[in-house]
Symmetry: C2
Subunit: 217 residues, 2 copies
């Protein structure tokens, strides 16, 4: 399947716009673990995921992290092209969590088409609203939900994404997803272990009672 099938408003572009977009696309394979975009990069372009998994997160000055959202097959990453709108006043980091195949749409090209095309501009609006909703969900989690619930939900989500109950995750990595300190994660995982919900060993967390985890989350 080609780009035409993946880009939802393709049929609403003019023939000239389609030609411009087709002529400037780049297809890339990104190995797992690669940082594709960060705040110091000028403007990487929009990323349309064919297959794989990306993670969008922010970093503090002290190097702490928190995951904002993830992108999967058919998702488009807008904030790796934040230069297309002057009102985007924040920096995200985007990394590949799995080997990922994607198309890069140059930011300037997309901006030009968006300015003349109501369908593309409205589609971009929906994209942004969707990421905004992810971030609002995150704020509600951080503000109103206790850490045990967030950790239980995270472990279940990871288990679903990786399709395994034995997660290869260090406590540090979990802390970086959830925006907390490693010690906090270690303490809570030990409590989960004492309750029979997980089994811990070096670099792995095995979910041993998903029913109980689900109830907690």
């Amino acid at each position: 399947m080609g780009f035409e099938e993946f880009f939802p408003v393709w049929d609403q572009l003019t023939a000239a716009q389609q030609a411009r977009m087709r002529g400037s696309l780049a297809e890339r394979r990104i190995p797992k673990g690669t940082v594709i975009h960060n705040g110091s990069m000028h403007c990487t372009g929009l990323l349309l995921v064919q297959q794989g998994q990306l993670r969008a997160y922010i970093l503090s000055d002290e190097g702490r992290e928190i995951t904002l959202y993830r992108l999967f097959d058919r998702d488009i990453c807008l904030f790796s092209a934040s230069c297309i709108m002057r009102s985007i006043q924040f920096d995200l980091t985007i990394a590949a969590e799995k080997d990922t195949e994607l198309w890069v749409i140059p930011a300037e090209l997309y901006k030009g088409i968006m300015e003349e095309s109501a369908p593309v501009a409205n589609y971009t609006n929906e994209l942004m609203a969707s990421r905004f909703s992810d971030v609002m969900w995150l704020i509600e989690q951080i503000m109103w939900k206790s850490f045990d619930k967030r950790l239980a939900a995270f472990l279940l989500e990871e288990s679903a994404l990786e399709e395994t109950s034995t997660l290869k995750l260090t406590h540090e990595t979990i802390a970086n997803h959830l925006g907390t300190a490693r010690e906090v994660v270690t303490r809570m995982l030990r409590y989960f272990q004492s309750e029979g919900m997980v089994k811990l060993s070096r670099g792995t967390v095995e979910l041993t009672d998903t029913g109980k985890l689900r109830k907690m989350s």
Copy 2:
């Protein structure tokens, strides 16, 4: 000054779109303290502030609050018309913090114009990106900044907005802005008082050393 002067892309509307918009606008005066929009209301419409101050916040199931951003003269509130985009999956509450004069643009009308007009759709994109940036700033504050700094910054901001160093604010109100418990605010304000930065009395916080507060924030 009329709506034409306040709505930034007015000149980029067609004559027919201008007529439709003019014919469906409502001008309203909202007394301070009024809740203009909340999640249970279907779709209040876009609010264009002529003069005044609005506060956008979220509420937890337990009634806790946190301020997301404020809107001032010439700002437009998009999320009181969240039905214009299906990807907006969150609810805000909007209240007037000062007596406010505003125009209400019906959501369905705006949606119709946005769908056919690239300038209106792109303008809406910038609006959303701007609010998104506010919320990202808030996440960074919540995640990486200690509460003493957030409280100091809040008191200075309030003092600038109200143009006074004697703020009429209960500890409860401050807690609702910052998304924390009243007790946490009381404890920190007492510490600020012991450091000579504020003077507390019933229902008021007087800033007595803004230099020190600024240094702290």
